[in-house]
C-alpha cells in the first residue's frame, strides 16, 4: 500500500539507526533528516552531480538514487566518518592545504568517492584521478586544485609528507 511504513535498520559510521520510513523516502533524505547527518549534500536528485555520494557496504553510490528501505541491513559511511575528533582525515587535510574546496558543496561527495578509490589505487596517475572524479561536479573551485589535493592526499596516505 502506498504510504505504508517500513522499518529500516542501518549502521551509519558505526552507529545503529532504526526508524519507520515511507518507501519513497530517498536514502539521502534519510541520512540528512532522520539520522541528522547533514554532511551529505543533495545537489540534483537525479544522479548527475555526485554531491550525495556515500559508501554502502564499502562501495560509493548515489544516495539520491536509492530508497532508504533498500538500505535495510547495510552499513553506511558518510563524510562525518572521516575526521577523528578535531583531527582531519588526510584527505580532508590535503583538500584544505591545496585549496581543493571553495563553497564546499561538492566536497563530501568527492571525499567519499576518493576514499575507496585511494585505498584501491594508492598511487594514481593524474589521468586516473580525473577519471575517478568524473562523476562529481564542482562548480566553483576548479578541478586543478582538486586534482592537486588528491595527489597530496595519496602521498599522505602512503606515509610520505609532500
Amino acid at each position: 500500500m502506498a504510504g505504508q511504513q517500513h522499518t529500516v535498520r542501518v549502521t551509519i559510521n558505526g552507529e545503529d539507526y532504526e526508524g519507520p520510513v515511507e518507501a519513497r523516502l530517498l536514502l539521502s533524505d534519510f541520512i540528512r533528516h532522520e539520522a541528522g547527518l547533514t554532511g551529505t549534500h543533495v545537489g540534483c536528485e537525479h544522479g548527475v552531480c555526485g554531491a550525495c555520494t556515500v559508501l554502502v557496504d564499502g562501495a560509493p553510490v548515489r544516495s539520491c538514487l536509492m530508497f532508504a528501505v533498500q538500505a535495510d541491513g547495510a552499513s553506511l559511511e558518510t563524510v562525518e566518518a572521516l575526521a577523528d575528533g578535531r583531527t582531519l582525515h588526510p584527505l580532508q587535510e590535503a583538500f584544505r592545504r591545496e585549496h581543493g574546496l571553495q563553497c564546499g558543496y561538492c566536497t563530501p561527495g568527492i571525499l567519499m568517492t576518493l576514499k575507496p578509490f585511494l585505498e584501491a589505487n594508492p598511487a594514481p596517475s593524474d589521468a586516473e584521478i580525473r577519471k575517478a572524479l568524473s562523476g562529481n561536479l564542482c562548480r566553483c573551485t576548479g578541478y586543478q586544485q582538486i586534482v592537486a589535493a588528491v595527489r597530496r592526499a595519496a602521498a599522505m596516505l602512503r606515509g610520505e609528507d609532500p
Binding site: 533524505d29 536528485e45 548515489r62 577519471k131
Partner: protein, 283 residues
C-alpha cells in the same frame, strides 16, 4: 524532485517477483539498480503504483560460465561484470564498453539487466549484446522464453519484454578462436551517454557491426557487415565498412550534436573499431 508514493515489494525469488508483477497488472514496475528508474520517479515522469525490488533476489546476481556461454544474471551489477576475470578472458568487449557507462558510483548500482530492459537509444550494453548475438531469458506467468538480441531491442526504450515479464538472464555465446573485437565511443564528457558508439565483432565466420546513438537504438549495419564479409578483414575493408555504415545511418539534429557530425562519427568510429578488431584477430 521527490518520488510520488508507491507500494514497495521486496520478493526473495524470481517466482515471487513474477507473481507480484502479474498480480498488479501493468501498475507494477521492477526496480533493478534504480539508476534510470529513480531519476524518472524523482522527476515524476514515471508513477508506478507498485515497485517490485529485485535487489534481494540473490540468484539473479550471478555471473558464470556454463556450456561455454557466459550467463549473466539480470541483477549483476555493471561494476561486477566490468571486474570479472572470466568475462575479461572470454568476452573482453564487455568490460571495455561498460567503462563508458556513466561513472563508477553509478556502475556500482546499475545492472546489466536494467540497462537492457531500459534500452536507452544511446546505451552501450544493448549495442554490445546485439554485436555478440546474445540471448535474453525472460520469465513470465506463462513460463520462460528465450529472446534473441535481434528481436529484443524494439526501438527507443522499447523491448520485446511484456509488462508481466522479468528479464532473468543474458546468455552470451562463446567467441570462437581468432575472433577480434573493437568498441569505440564519442561522448561530450567522460561518462555521458554516447553521441555515437560502435561495436565490431569479427568472427572467422562472419562480421557484426552495430552502431548506436544515431536513431532509435542499436542497429546492425548490414551493408558494413557485408563489405567485411566480401572484402576480407583488412584496413581497406574497414575504410569501406565505415562508409557503408554512414550511408545506412540517418541521424537527426538534436541539442547534443548536429546530424552531419554524428554521420562523420559513424564513419570514423566504425573504421577505428573495425581496425582494432582486425589487429586483435591476428593475436
Amino acid at each position: 524532485m521527490k518520488p510520488p508514493p508507491f507500494a514497495y515489494e521486496c520478493p526473495r525469488d524470481v517466482a515471487e517477483a513474477v507473481a507480484l508483477l502479474a498480480a498488479h497488472g501493468g501498475d507494477a514496475r521492477p526496480l533493478a539498480g534504480g539508476q534510470s528508474l529513480v531519476p524518472l520517479l524523482n522527476f515524476r515522469l514515471a508513477r508506478p503504483a507498485v515497485l517490485v525490488d529485485l535487489n534481494r533476489i540473490e540468484a539473479l546476481a550471478r555471473i558464470r560460465v556454463g556450456d561455454g556461454a557466459l550467463r549473466i544474471g539480470a541483477m549483476a551489477r555493471q561494476a561486477a561484470v566490468e571486474a570479472d576475470a572470466d568475462v575479461a578472458r572470454g568476452w573482453p568487449i564487455l568490460p571495455a564498453a561498460i567503462g563508458h557507462i556513466a561513472h563508477p558510483q553509478i556502475r556500482n548500482r546499475g545492472t546489466v539487466g536494467g540497462s537492457l530492459a531500459h534500452n536507452d537509444p544511446a546505451a552501450e550494453l544493448p549495442a554490445v549484446m546485439l554485436a555478440l548475438d546474445a540471448e535474453m531469458i525472460a520469465q513470465g506467468p506463462q513460463g520462460q522464453r528465450t529472446i534473441a538480441a535481434r528481436e529484443f531491442f524494439a526501438g527507443t526504450m522499447e523491448t520485446a519484454l511484456r509488462p508481466d515479464e522479468l528479464l532473468t538472464e543474458i546468455r552470451v555465446p562463446a567467441l570462437p578462436e581468432g575472433t577480434g573485437w573493437g568498441f569505440q565511443e564519442a561522448a561530450r564528457r567522460q561518462g555521458d551517454f554516447a553521441l555515437v558508439a560502435v561495436a565490431v565483432v569479427l568472427k572467422p565466420d562472419g562480421a557484426r557491426v552495430v552502431v548506436t546513438g544515431t536513431g532509435d537504438g542499436p542497429a546492425h549495419m548490414e551493408a558494413a557487415e557485408a563489405v567485411v564479409a566480401e572484402r576480407g578483414t583488412d584496413a581497406d575493408a574497414c575504410e569501406a565498412a565505415g562508409d557503408a555504415a554512414a550511408a545506412a545511418s540517418e541521424p537527426a539534429d538534436d541539442p547534443h550534436a548536429p546530424a552531419w557530425y554524428r554521420q562523420k562519427l559513424v564513419t570514423a568510429l566504425t573504421r577505428r573499431a573495425c581496425r582494432e578488431a582486425v589487429i586483435r584477430m591476428g593475436r
